[in-house]
């Protein structure tokens, strides 16, 4: 039985020097999609591992000893404590090194950072989760949090588009959600062809924004959470604005270069704000006022 968690706002959960990572171990490595694996971590300190709280949509600073540090969004939900899950794309120095590591290897983690999704404010509303490609990684935290606190929210709708069936993150998990009655789970791929080692795709083929024609939305009571590559923002935001979604109920998760994660080093600035403190979740209203955001 999963206990719903009441979240406080952990601004500085780890006491002391905010730059020093806490030792953590890789518990499991789950290859999902080529160059996008799910890593499970657990803090060495058992008390920290047990009591570590965070908000869906927040991120961690992940240190690999001798290589460096990088910001990674959290894919697990605080309603399932014990391990932290992060879906990591193999793309830079730190992540390349991570892909050479094994289970039980030591890493450093500090966080959780950023504002996260306003899950309390969203209570009593419909939730529309829209992910494109790797955008599912941070949104999975939010989606599972909402499902674990199912009574707090009305409708939950997921729209997820990947390039092809073999590019779908959390495919088994999401296909299982399609069988649930309390979530409308719409998956699509840009194109599909059969590969010997990938389960046959029987779902929708078409671009992500086309999923809007398959559901009836009530913009007066819906929060939309969007994450994906720039092209997703371009077309999905247009669809939401066409339907007169309030601009502060369209939430987007952004990524930038980060060196500190705590509002000091300056690298993650978007327009006049810092992604690490004022984000990474920004509303569309913020975006209008921050010219460089998307």
């Amino acid at each position: 039985m999963i206990q719903p968690t009441i979240l406080s706002y952990p601004k500085q959960y780890m006491k002391g020097n905010p730059y020093v990572p806490q030792p953590a171990r890789i518990v499991r490595i789950i290859p999902m999609v080529k160059n996008n694996w799910l890593f499970q971590f657990r803090f060495e300190d058992p008390e920290l591992a047990r009591n570590f709280i965070y908000r869906p949509g927040q991120f961690m600073m992940l240190s690999i000893i001798g290589t460096g540090e990088a910001p990674i969004s959290i894919s697990s939900t605080p309603t399932r404590p014990g391990v932290l899950e992060m879906c990591v794309r193999k793309t830079g120095r730190v992540t390349n090194h991570l892909y050479t590591m094994k289970e039980n290897d030591l890493v450093g983690l500090r966080g959780s950072y950023g504002n996260g999704f306003p899950v309390e404010e969203m209570k009593g509303h419909d939730l529309l989760v829209i992910a494109g490609g790797l955008g599912m990684a941070p949104l999975r935290s939010f989606l599972n949090y909402a499902l674990d606190n199912r009574n707090d929210y009305k409708r939950i709708i997921l729209m997820y588009g990947a390039r092809s069936p073999q590019d779908i993150l959390f495919r088994e998990e999401l296909e299982a959600l399609q069988k649930r009655q309390d979530i409308e789970c719409l998956l699509t791929v840009d194109y599909a062809y059969d590969l010997p080692d990938v389960p046959k795709w029987r779902g929708n083929v078409g671009l992500l924004p086309e999923l809007f024609s398959k559901v009836k939305l009530d913009p007066s009571t819906t929060y939309a959470a969007v994450c994906g590559p720039p092209v997703v923002y371009k077309f999905v935001l247009a669809k939401l604005l066409e339907r007169d979604f309030s601009k502060d109920r369209i939430l987007m998760s952004l990524e930038r270069k980060m060196k500190c994660g705590i509002g000091k080093c300056g690298h993650c600035s978007v327009g006049y704000k810092y992604t690490c403190i004022d984000g990474p979740i920004f509303t569309y209203w913020d975006a209008i006022n921050l010219p460089e955001i998307i």
């Binding site: 020097n17 030792p23 240190s63 460096g68 705590i262 509002g263």
Partner: protein, 327 residues
């Protein structure tokens, strides 16, 4: 001067060349350059080091914070009001949301003795409201014909006065009068100014101004303005591995938003791909973003960047042009 040494190692403005000054350790009180205008590097180097080890790491022990060199006591003597204000600005940055222990340990262990000054043709601190230090010092010395009018800013400053009682006395009415007269004279000496009225809004209106592109073409991207800026605080973090071991040091170094890789992320996407975007960030952050977050601009009008820029970019000229005050 000798009596302040028990409060810490004495650091003062020193002359490097005819018109070039720096803050450094005082070996002989006669070396103190009381007539200096501005140093090359600002006082921030005492609190936020150009290169600073943050922690050591080791494959088995993980990360351990660096604590050595943290309780070094320093008396920083002779810093001008603009710089005292710049330290207050850095206090905001390093003390908001998360406390930066490295900065505040050094801050706490540094006594600041301010010194009044007379502006030259590069100073525009008056425009930035930083020609007077309200707080942020332990003692502040305002020059008079005979001696100094001393303001005591902290209890620690009071201890310093008590440690050398024979040097201090109550000011006479004539001396207070002289202080006021000097203040009135100093106001007249400013030749350079900008107006910050509505500036954040004006910068937003001028977001797409072609001036940014012109500036981007002039700017060499050397980052000198950031390094010598008393309020620039961006830093980079990198791990250095000791040869032949799995351990090493994680260090932070001063960084500049003008460097090409400032917003370059893994995978090769650069969020600020051209120099014009980076130059614009520098101005918008200092005069708008910082105002939004902390209620004041992060510029103290010290004139260092005007002096240092190899492309002769002048911040007051840029802002006055953006305002439409200069065509």
């Amino acid at each position: 001067m000798e009596s302040v040494r028990k409060f810490g190692e004495l650091h003062v403005p020193l002359r490097k060349d005819e018109d070039i000054f720096y803050y450094g350790k005082c070996e002989n009180v006669r070396d103190i350059a009381l007539d200096y205008r501005r140093t090359i590097l600002p006082a921030k180097k005492y609190f936020f080091r150009p290169v600073e080890p943050l922690m050591t790491f080791d494959a088995t022990k993980g990360y351990q914070p660096v604590e050595e060199d943290m309780d070094r006591k320093i008396v920083l003597f002779g810093i001008h009001p603009c710089e005292i204000n710049s330290v207050r600005i850095l206090d905001l940055v390093f003390g908001t949301d998360y406390i930066d222990n490295y900065y505040f340990n050094r801050r706490k262990n540094t006594v600041i003795v301010g010194l009044s000054c007379v502006p030259d043709d590069l100073c525009f601190c008056r425009s930035m409201g930083t020609d007077f230090a309200e707080d942020g010092f332990d003692l502040f010395l305002a020059e008079l014909r005979e001696g100094y009018l001393v303001r005591v800013g902290t209890s620690r400053g009071d201890d310093m006065v008590n440690g050398a009682k024979n040097l201090f006395r109550k000011p006479t009415d004539a001396e207070l009068d002289e202080y006021k007269q000097r203040s009135n004279e100093v106001i007249k000496k400013f030749t350079r100014s900008i107006s910050t009225t509505d500036l954040p809004e004006i910068l937003e209106i001028e977001y797409d101004s072609p001036q940014w592109k012109d500036l981007g073409e002039r700017c060499l991207g050397c980052g000198a303005c950031s390094m010598i800026c008393p309020t620039c605080y961006c830093f980079n973090v990198a791990d250095e591995i000791a040869l032949g071991t799995s351990g090493g040091v994680r260090k932070r170094t001063w960084d500049s938003c003008l460097f090409e890789d400032y917003a370059l992320v893994a995978g090769g996407h650069n969020f600020r791909v051209n120099r014009a975007m980076r130059v614009k960030l520098r101005y918008l952050h200092k005069q708008k973003g910082f105002v939004d977050k902390y209620g004041r601009p992060s510029c103290v009008g010290c004139g260092r960047c005007i002096n240092m820029c190899p492309a002769k970019i002048d911040v007051t000229e840029v802002i006055n042009t953006i305002r439409g005050a200069v065509k």
